[in-house]
Subunit: 701 residues, 2 copies
């Protein structure tokens, strides 16, 4: 068990603000607690001697003995003081139901700041404020004011919306869905999703962690925790505010600052969380993950008494990452023996409409025996010869016999009710729509894949960190936050190849460098100024300059810069070797910082691929080698790097290494807020960062 | 009413093969008919005097008076004879339940051929064979052997799978879903989906047409019929066999020859059918389309008592083609007056957790009054202060008052049951998952858009059809089915611009043509041979040939062709003007024939866009001008034609016209099986078909 063990298995719970007053939250919580809680209930209220038959105390200090959990339902004005007295008297776990904190304007925000300080001073495990409370069915504790309690089960569920918890509990009571722990996160002043994920990951009685979140407080910590937890326990979550409209609704609802949706998408994927878009999937996936074993492979057998719905199911498999199992010869011959003429022994198996339960069950049995079959879908339409209830019983037995996951689609109404209950007791989900059965099995496959992940450590390249710091500090001394080609050394220091070149500040020096660098094709010359972001647009770049023209070109570049902005700070002119662009592809590697997830790496092909087709991919840094490779694999235009249409393949390994080195750079220097290598030219022989632009935060140096 | 009126409103139904024998299909059908049918039931069976109390006749001929519908359940061996005698005795409508036709091998296929001939001879409206039967609740007729009857309603439903009908009826009886007519299509030997769509389109009592199809017999006719029908009646359908796996499952199930999924996708879209992927959407959409009015616009208001679920709903709107309504100042001020502090008066409206039904209803009322609001979602979580049932009643009243569509999400279990029934009586759907409510409203929006469509006639360009025929006939005379640049005249005849050029058969003629065509850049020369498909690959194309080199190049091209294939038929060499490729973009316009939908037009950008990014779009021909324009709009790389990244925009109108002219060509000549203009070069000044390849079927000339 984790650090929050006593929170979820307390022996003594105090309700501070308990009351008998009708319709009050203090009464609702005390009543909910009184219903099933195995431990002691201690009401605290200076104006009562008893609450609902329990002896009531004036304040926390006057309660004899230890309080494991204090639930605070006092008015906002005194809530922080009450929490402080909890701390003073040794309470470790506090659940603050009281509202009127950061969700309620600036006064509330400063109240929440004080609350956080108090919690920190006394090292409190604090849930809320502004929440519905917590439930732990293991000890029968319902410390919420929800109208409906949770049934016991193995799903632990947290939600940033209290109302959603009440909805889910109401629905769950009617759908035989049970919970281990339930937490209403409220404003997450102290404890957040990362804490509960860690706790439930350590809890042997939690099979699945569900979450409804509108934001994640600390993306990096979330990824780290979730990666470990999901080795044993799946996490299924709705992260709402996905769309622009949704994000602004979330902001007005809880004040959640939306990080970028792309960061969430990448970060949650990297964390191993299974993200879903709606409540139906949330509970469909929770159900099958807590009820069925993981499949060995991704191939599925369909056994049905109806051809048409079998086709629909097959389509749903085609839409998923599952595949239709190919049976062994033995299976085919067994099926052939077991099934009549007209039946289909190939997947989807059609036992046909006149099948009774024996024929149906034999087909399921033979199929599950097949080593090529990882999971099965049992799908039946109502017929005169088949009882859904019999089929359910046989399916449960066969599932147990073969220990392979099954999802059912019993296509009917009332007539399926009993069968559904039988299947559900064994953890086999059943749906009218076979597409839902397929998606649920696909969730199992996905979790198996997550569980099998190995998270490689990011490679630590041998880099010249001091030199990089010098480049950044030089910018600081120039009092600028924007750097361009003058920062090429930053890349070199981290082992990212750049074209040979130098920044010079006189036509003469330019000539000297050009003499050294130029081959027949001449050199590239670029104006170097922190005030000029788009050099090409103002004529600040000249390509193929012959040494004889270098001095004149130097002057031209400076004049153009001055014409553009008379007081532009000009650091000089960069003279760079010409790259052989034959067989070269321009790519982009970059980074910006997300408020929740920190450094977000980006990769894509340059030009139209980024600007028109928006074919880019992102990952939260630091990225390991496989993650960097995945970034390249992810883009749709990747074949262009690999010799599509008769081109020579470029140095893909060089790209992958550059992404990693860049990841190391931006991880080492939080002062780098944004950085773009554009273009990172890739040729069959290597890569070269031809241009760079970055923004730094001097405060963070 | 349509041509099949007597089939769905018969006064007299004969069951040929009726019997009392236990567990037989003949008994099941007679029993089902006897249950509710308002008309006369006439069993026909030579071995019985009575069946279930109805007087039984020896054969169809001995039945006095008219039979409106004959249901045939006799053995396969005599089924065709029985149908023939139906025809002889003036029966117009025949439903053949009997199996053992094309679904059962070659013998069955020839039996089905005979059945079709008989039907044609007597002009029979024949359903099946190999089907479950038909239902028409208007006259209480259940002429199926399904275990469950349909409740009356306004949905007419056809299915290529009989089992799916039994499943749907079982489910529907439990979900208050009613039907007008139900048809099990079976093998579709005579009547197919097009016939029933036409019939139900004419039926004032059918509000929505639902279909489960594995294939469409005649795509062109389907599009034509559906376009007309969907002006008044929405069509929602599952066309299964979408995926490769599904298509092969469908083929083994019903022998349906899969046309290309892309053709179905385009064809059904062009037809105005709303295609869904699964049964949940099929019935969700049917429910709202039959229960709610169409929205005026696409903007939706959300009224909720719970912030978090409001955010989820907003996300779902972001995922759809709906938008979040912006309220008028009047609405905002009314909401502000009606709602307490802490409520959110902006969309999504949060009436907050302590709202009673009056506050909730007032917010709904004010919102629906707003002219900016096209539709509303009423979403509630369980609270102590709100009764779902009261909310349902008020919602029904407000829906009637404002006549705007509403979908509800009552988030709970059993506690929502009664409210759900109240809403459902008024045709307001309710779901636990708000995302389903959003998708259902989006189906209304989509149908409104379909209803508003104007299907322009394809433009009839003035073309030289005779000249085109000559080109094709010339190929026929050469006994070849493949044509290349020698068919450029085909394009010219249809007004598609081609570069100036001629096919010559001697070096001297080549020189003469080159002298005439060459500017400073020279000419293009291509070998012309039906046996050489990929001219460039064998060195059969030379670009920028100066007049002085033309004679030598001629010989070179011929030698290379002979080296490639010594007996290649060489028609000569094409000498073409050089195009100015500055600012040019290569595109592809093509056509191939789909077995169901006929000529399928394709458009895309050339090179990597087709080969690597697969960025192409298709439409069933003939295409009108707006459809051709849509094809260009559809591709992701379209911005490259419109001046992205500082390029000059190309002649998009020229592309659109070329697509239409090509559409007219392939519609005029069914002999053209495939045709590709690749590249169709587009410049700012116009378009030019630089190369063409086609395959023809000489039989069809």
């Amino acid at each position: 068990m984790g650090e929050l063990a006593t929170m979820f298995a307390p022996e003594r719970v105090a309700v501070i603000g308990a009351t008998e007053s009708d319709g009050s939250v203090g009464r609702a919580i005390t009543e909910n607690l009184a219903a099933d809680y195995e431990g002691d209930i201690v009401p605290v209220n200076p104006n009562a001697d008893q609450v609902l038959g329990f002896e009531c105390y004036e304040d926390v200090g006057s309660v004899p003995g230890t309080i494991d959990v204090a639930v605070v339902v006092v008015p906002g004005s005194i809530a922080v003081d009450v929490v402080e007295s909890c701390g003073e008297h040794g309470v470790e776990n506090v659940v603050v139901i009281t509202a009127g904190f950061s969700e309620a304007g600036s006064e509330g925000a400063s109240r929440e700041k004080r609350l956080r300080e108090v919690a920190s001073e006394y090292d409190l495990n604090l849930v809320g404020p502004n929440c519905l409370g917590i439930i732990s069915t293991g000890v029968g504790m319902n410390a919420t004011f929800a109208p409906q309690n949770a049934q016991p089960g193995s799903i632990s569920f947290m939600s940033q919306s209290g109302a959603f918890i009440t909805a889910v509990l109401d629905w769950a009571s009617d759908h035989d869905v049970g919970f281990r722990d339930v937490v209403s996160l409220g404003n997450k002043a102290v404890l957040d999703e990362g804490d509960f994920i860690a706790e439930w990951g350590d809890d042997p009685d939690t099979d699945v962690i569900l979450a409804y979140l509108e934001g994640i407080e600390d993306g990096g910590r979330f990824i780290e925790t979730a990666r470990e937890v999901t080795q044993d326990t799946p996490i299924v979550m709705v992260k709402s505010g996905r769309t622009e409209a949704g994000a602004s609704a979330a902001a007005s609802h809880t004040g959640t600052m939306a990080g970028s949706e792309r960061a969430y998408e990448a970060g949650l994927e990297q964390a191993g969380a299974i993200r879903v878009d709606n409540t139906q999937e949330l509970f469909d996936y929770a159900g099958i993950l807590s009820g069925q074993p993981l499949p060995d492979g991704d191939s599925v057998a369909i056994v049905t008494n109806a051809g048409g719905p079998g086709v629909m199911t097959t389509d749903a498999i085609g839409d998923s990452d599952l595949s239709l199992a190919s049976f062994t010869d033995e299976t085919l011959s067994d099926l052939s023996a077991a099934l009549p003429d007209g039946a289909n022994i190939y997947n989807p198996i059609d036992v046909i409409g006149d099948a009774d339960v024996d024929r149906f069950a034999e087909a399921i049995d033979v199929t599950l025996e097949d080593p090529n079959v990882g999971a099965a879908i049992v799908m039946a339409c109502p017929t005169a010869t088949l009882s859904f209830e019999d089929l359910a019983e046989r399916t449960v037995a066969l599932q147990a016999k073969h220990d392979k996951p099954i999802a059912a689609s019993l296509m009917g109404g009332d007539s399926t009710r009993e069968a559904q209950a039988t299947l559900s007791e064994d953890g086999i989900p059943t749906y009218f729509d076979p597409a839902r059965a397929v998606r649920s099995l696909d969730a199992l496959r996905r979790y198996r894949e997550i569980q099998a992940r190995e998270y490689d450590e990011p490679t630590e390249f041998d880099v010249d960190r001091e030199r990089a710091r010098e480049v950044l500090e030089a910018a600081e001394r120039r009092n600028t936050s924007r750097l361009g080609v003058e920062a090429m050394d930053l890349l070199s220091a981290y082992g990212i190849p750049t074209p040979a070149g130098e920044i010079v500040d006189s036509p003469g020096d330019a000539e000297a460098v050009a003499e050294r660098l130029a081959d027949g094709e001449g050199v590239v010359m670029k104006i170097v100024s922190p005030d000029i972001l788009h050099k090409s647009d103002i004529g600040g770049v000249e390509v193929g300059v012959q040494p004889s023209e270098v001095a004149d070109t130097y002057e031209d570049l400076v004049v153009r810069a001055r014409n553009y902005q008379s007081d532009a700070k000009i650091l000089g002119v960069q003279v760079q070797e010409m790259l052989d662009m034959d067989g070269a592809t321009e790519t982009i590697a970059g980074m910006n910082r997300d408020p929740q997830f920190g450094p977000l790496m980006l990769f894509g092909l340059g030009g139209i691929f980024v600007e028109v087709l928006e074919d880019t991919t992102v990952r939260v840094a630091p990225v390991s080698e496989p993650e960097a490779q995945n970034m390249v694999d992810d883009i749709e235009s990747a074949p262009l790097l690999r010799g599509a249409r008769g081109r020579e393949a470029v140095d893909e390994a060089g790209i992958v290494e550059t992404i990693q080195r860049l990841s190391q750079l931006v991880t080492d220097f939080p002062a780098i807020l944004e950085l773009d290598i554009n273009p990172l030219v890739a040729t069959p022989d290597g890569v070269s960062a031809v241009d760079v632009r970055l923004t730094i935060d001097q405060e963070k140096l």
